[in-house]
């Protein structure tokens, strides 16, 4: 079975990655090849198989809901590209 056509521009938009026209054609060829290889998984019958999300299954791992010391405000902001008034600065979101 042939691999599905991948609309690189659309998927790159979903991933929020701007790509050049050159990158787009290169990625189309490379991902086409990789997806073609991945098609081999369709040879297997998996109808009665449960999926594995984690190899060591553990459920409902919790810790006490207690206030504990955490990263100081100024440390959390220290690596921000733009900040003001103790907040991260971003472009205008709402008109």
């Amino acid at each position: 079975m042939a691999a599905a056509e991948i609309d690189i521009k659309y998927v790159a938009h979903l991933a929020r990655i701007s790509i050049t026209v050159d990158e787009e054609s290169k990625l189309a060829a490379q991902l086409g090849g990789i997806l073609g290889y991945i098609e081999k998984l369709k040879e297997l019958d998996v109808t009665k198989v449960e999926p594995t999300a984690h190899a060591v299954p553990m459920v409902n791992v919790t810790r006490p809901d207690e206030v504990r010391p955490s990263l100081p405000h100024e440390d959390a902001l220290r690596n921000a590209p733009k900040q003001a008034g103790g907040l991260f600065m971003v472009p205008k979101i709402v008109e």
Binding site: A15, I17, Y37, K40, P51
Partner: protein, 484 residues
């Protein structure tokens, strides 16, 4: 020369006051000065900070303090947070990021007394098998600087092999510890998923990533595993399993040990010299009293495809955090979407973009069931293969990599060929079991290291280290040094 010593030998000299931690650290710094221009294992290192840590260790030693790693210089892959040190993950996108806290593994090293220093080069965000995908340039194999050191923890392997540190930490998502350890001729251990806390490790594929040590022998690997292991409330996937005394397991007693030889691993692409070295190692194990059993891992052929769906899907979600808002480099835009896209387009390298886009695609509406869910089901089949095999054998023996180190540039334009070089290491992460690579020989011309991989049951590191140690005690491969 002190930089060439193992942890156990240096620790004995430090405890006996034959040498100081400062002398040991200085010896590593001198070696970096001498060889790292060629090897480029380090992205950066802070010599003054390392020497200050050494002086503090010397003070502790004089005061009679005893800690398992007191005064031992250990270098760190650039994907683990070390407080007040840069963290770049081999990428441009983190800009001038400085870690505000220590990763759990780093806390453990520090409280064991280690000198934690340096940022070791790696494939960007641990995506690669050659360390060619770093924004900071390629790392070269100490055995032949025309060749790659393996990856993604290429810097960690090269630094240990070239004696630029006593040991190092790396991470393994599909072979990123074992494969570079094999190609550089050192010991690389990938513990069972959940054995070591991932808190403070920048995530690539959260269900596959695991931290582990690069060392000069198996004894050091056991020492570091003992220090690093244990449950951590900050990583809900770390497992509350008791931490055994791994050193005590190194008793050389492997008589009657059942070693499985998977018939599916004797594939076409396996290099003849690698095969001969692995066959000889298997013979050696037999001579030492181990029993060799042929086993079958029938879904081996599907592991690479399964891995490249699951790992890229998880990566596409994990790497969403690099958006230019809270940290790292930013390229402005007129609205947030434009800012994200420009920042990520300029900040990520080609391989990272390729994997995020593939991961986004396999998770996207209409393709999720066909790719991601199917891969998760095949992952169950692969895991079951191993659990079934471990009903009859104690450990599994394979080559670590189908070939010795390849040339820089040889596979960099063909991602699929690069992915297929991980064929022997990838299943271990999917199954969540443990694995180790140890030196088992050399190719003739050029002389390049060959690695032997041992795979063990979940939380079966004692058995793995016992077998690896017994082999090492009866061979001299691990004592060979590269011509740096």
């Amino acid at each position: 020369m002190l930089n060439q010593l193992t942890i156990s030998k240096l620790a004995a000299k430090l405890a006996g006051r034959e040498v100081s931690a400062r002398e040991a650290m200085q010896s590593c710094l001198d070696q970096i000065e001498r060889v790292d221009g060629n090897i480029h294992a380090f992205i950066s290192h802070d010599a003054a900070d390392a020497l200050a840590q050494a002086d503090a260790a010397d003070k502790d030693i004089s005061a009679g303090v005893q800690k398992p790693l007191l005064g031992i210089p250990i270098a760190i892959k650039d994907v683990l947070a070390v407080k007040n040190q840069p963290l770049n993950c081999g990428s441009k996108i983190l800009g001038k990021f400085i870690s505000p806290y220590d990763a759990a593994a780093i806390e453990k090293l520090k409280s064991a007394g280690a000198i934690v220093f340096g940022r070791l080069n790696m494939d960007e965000f641990a995506m690669g098998s050659s360390t060619e995908n770093s924004a900071f340039g390629v790392t070269r194999n100490p055995w032949d600087t025309m060749r790659i050191p393996g990856g993604s923890s290429g810097g960690s392997a090269a630094a240990v092999a070239a004696d630029e540190c006593i040991a190092s930490l790396g991470t393994d998502t599909g072979g990123s510890i074992r494969q570079p350890a094999a190609l550089c001729g050192c010991v690389g251990l990938k513990p069972t998923y959940g054995r070591i806390s991932r808190y403070g490790l920048v995530a690539f594929a959260s269900s596959l990533d695991q931290i582990g040590p690069f060392t000069k022998d198996v004894h050091d690997s056991a020492t570091l595993l003992g220090v690093l292991s244990g449950v951590d409330l900050r990583d809900s996937t770390s497992v509350p399993q008791p931490v055994p005394n791994y050193i005590a397991a190194l008793d050389g007693k492997i008589k009657g040990l059942k070693l499985g030889l998977p018939k599916e691993y004797m594939i076409g692409g396996l290099d003849a010299e690698v095969k001969a070295a692995v066959d000889a190692a298997v013979k050696k194990f037999q001579n030492l009293g181990a029993e060799i059993v042929e086993i079958s891992l029938p879904h081996t052929d599907y592991a690479v495809a399964t891995y490249y769906i699951i790992a890229t899907a998880e990566a596409s979600a994990n790497l969403a955090r690099f958006d230019g808002i809270r940290y790292g480099a930013r390229i402005d835009g007129n609205d947030p979407t434009e800012l994200y896209s420009r920042t990520r387009g300029a900040g990520f390298g080609a391989e990272v973009k390729r994997r995020i886009i593939l991961g986004t695609y396999v998770l996207s509406s209409g393709y999720y069931d066909a790719y991601y869910l199917r891969a998760q089901k095949v992952r169950t089949l692969i895991r079951n293969d191993f659990l079934r095999a471990f009903e009859t054998v104690d450990a599994i023996v394979t080559p670590t990599s189908p070939t010795a180190a390849f040339k820089i540039g040889e596979k960099s334009n063909d991602p699929l060929q690069m992915y297929l070089s991980d064929i022997f290491t990838i299943s271990c992460n999917l199954a969540g079991i443990c694995g180790i690579s140890i030196p088992c020989g050399f190719t003739k011309s050029p002389k390049l290291p060959i690695g032997l991989q041992l795979l063990g049951k979940p939380f079966g590191e004692e058995m793995l280290l016992k077998a690896a140690h017994a082999y090492e005690q009866n061979t001299l491969w691990h004592q060979e040094k590269p011509p740096v």
